[in-house]
């Protein structure tokens, strides 16, 4: 009798935990609310203007680190983000993808401008000097390292695949990884887009 009651209690507890996880608060991508600091940076955009996080308040922002010579991860991720933005139902001025180059030596303002334009009007290229870039990478605990140049002077840059999503108030809400499908990203992005005005309590 005692034993069965104990098991029932355990089952009840487990059920409670499960429902707490799969209820309103469930995201299909990775929830980082309150784990990661608010959006803050001071860099130059792909038109050469100096910009800070303040300039993007009121918009949902997606922060991604990469470089234009990147052959697979960067263009793939950016293309997926373009698709995600289309299907999330965001308006032209609702969201911005902030593509920060980890290879400012090769990615000039002009190169960045041409590159991000190809993905859509919501894409912004950002570059800065080593100190500004290091500060940003350190803030979001991401790492990048330049590889050894080959005979033609070409080199690869190792960098993370994280896409950090910030709500309209600049608070970190989600991280998209290579595992997430565009459908899952779009669904979660929609939630950030449409409830961040009403406060972030739901997350």
């Amino acid at each position: 009798m005692w034993r069965s009651r104990k098991w029932a209690l355990a089952a009840l507890l487990a059920a409670g935990l499960l429902s707490a996880c799969s209820g309103e608060g469930a995201w299909r991508t990775h929830d980082i609310f309150k784990l990661v600091p608010d959006l803050a940076f001071s860099l130059n955009d792909d038109r050469g203007r100096s910009v800070s996080a303040q300039d993007y308040r009121g918009k949902v922002t997606l922060l991604f680190f990469g470089y234009t010579h990147c052959e697979d991860v960067c263009p793939e991720t950016l293309a997926q983000l373009a698709q995600t933005l289309r299907t999330s139902g965001s308006g032209r001025d609702d969201a911005r993808v902030l593509f920060v180059t980890v290879d400012p030596a090769r990615d000039s303002t002009a190169v960045m401008h041409g590159y991000v334009q190809a993905f859509g009007p919501q894409f912004v290229g950002l570059r800065g000097d080593a100190a500004a870039l290091d500060a940003l990478a350190r803030r979001y605990r991401v790492s990048y390292s330049l590889g050894k140049p080959d005979a033609q002077g070409r080199y690869e840059v190792t960098h993370g695949s994280a896409v950090f999503v910030f709500d309209r108030e600049g608070r970190a809400r989600l991280v998209f990884t290579a595992k997430d499908t565009p459908a899952a990203m779009a669904q979660d992005l929609r939630r950030v887009l449409f409830d961040s005005g009403a406060g972030a309590g739901a997350g």
Partner: protein, 298 residues
């Protein structure tokens, strides 16, 4: 001239490596405080009470190792490479606290306290019921090994590992919890006294615990080392310190969790068996002593 220049460059690079990646005043103060106390204590204790060189070396190297993995560029590397993270935790949870506990530093540390702080005051705090009960609970024969293994398992849960590597406060909670639990566990295990002289657990019980706690760690390590699935994608998400095959990184990390950690438990068991035998011998000696006291003296 060129040589001097190269030397200077090397020194600058080395000092850059030794500077904290993320400065933690708490850790800095704790390590410096322990170092100063121990140093002062060593100068104050009588020559006969001074710990043997081996014990002193054990204390300093344990402290230095803990400081090195948490307050140098190594900390950055272990945030961005799984196997280096496992190496960091091997030091924080096993090697560092193991060496510190082996050196039995409490007497020397207490002697290093400023004269204004009397040992009686510390003893009074130590005897507070809250502290005594909490300590007894944490150092219980079942709780201590469960906590020891449970923490390893907890922080290696994929989801929790992901968050800990992304979040600065959570990362520090993780590393501090490993260090504090490591100290608690190894101080309990490596207590030089037998139970009747004040140790919380007897030698036999401790040998059993230390060997039992080894098994789940070997299972966790083997699971990680033999898995062909990327269990910890956070390193790909945040970027690795340098280019390495993610599965190789994971397998190395699993091996570090599995083999050197288990070795530490075996070494602890051997140390305990040795101490047990020595105490046993002394005991038989003492019991025989009164009967043969005359012949013994002759």
């Amino acid at each position: 001239m060129v040589l001097l220049h190269a030397l200077m460059q090397g020194l600058i690079a080395a000092s850059a490596f030794l500077l904290p990646w993320e400065l933690s005043p708490t850790l800095l103060v704790s390590c410096a405080g322990a170092l100063i106390l121990y140093w002062r204590g060593l100068r104050r204790v009588r020559a006969a009470e001074r710990p043997a060189p081996g014990r002193r070396i054990a204390f300093f190297s344990g402290l230095l190792l803990v400081y090195f993995v948490m307050q140098t560029r190594f900390d950055y590397l272990s945030q961005h490479m799984f196997y280096l993270h496992r190496l960091q935790h091997l030091v924080l949870h096993h090697l560092g606290p193991f060496l510190i506990a082996l050196s039995q530093p409490l007497t020397v540390l207490a002697r290093g306290l400023p004269a204004r702080i009397r040992p009686a005051a510390i003893a009074r705090i130590w005897r507070l019921p809250v502290i005594r009960v909490a300590y007894r609970l944490l150092q219980n024969a079942l709780v201590a090994p469960l906590l020891f293994v449970g923490l390893i398992w907890f922080w290696l849960t994929s989801r929790i590992h992901f968050d800990a590597m992304l979040s600065d406060p959570l990362y520090w909670v993780m590393n501090w919890s490993m260090l504090i639990d490591g100290l608690l566990f190894w101080i309990l295990m490596l207590d030089p006294r037998p139970r009747r002289e004040g140790a919380l657990l007897g030698f036999g019980a401790r040998i059993l615990i230390v060997l039992a706690a080894m098994v789940p760690q070997m299972l966790i390590g083997a699971h990680i080392a033999l898995s062909n699935r990327d269990l910890y994608d956070v390193y790909a998400v945040c970027g690795r310190a340098w280019e390495i095959d993610p599965l190789l990184d994971q397998h190395l990390g699993g091996l570090i969790t599995w083999i050197p950690a288990a070795m530490m438990h075996v070494i602890a068991a051997l140390v305990l068996i040795g101490r047990w035998a020595r105490h046993d011998r002394n005991e038989t000696h003492r019991m025989r002593a009164p009967a043969s006291s005359n012949s013994g003296r002759a």
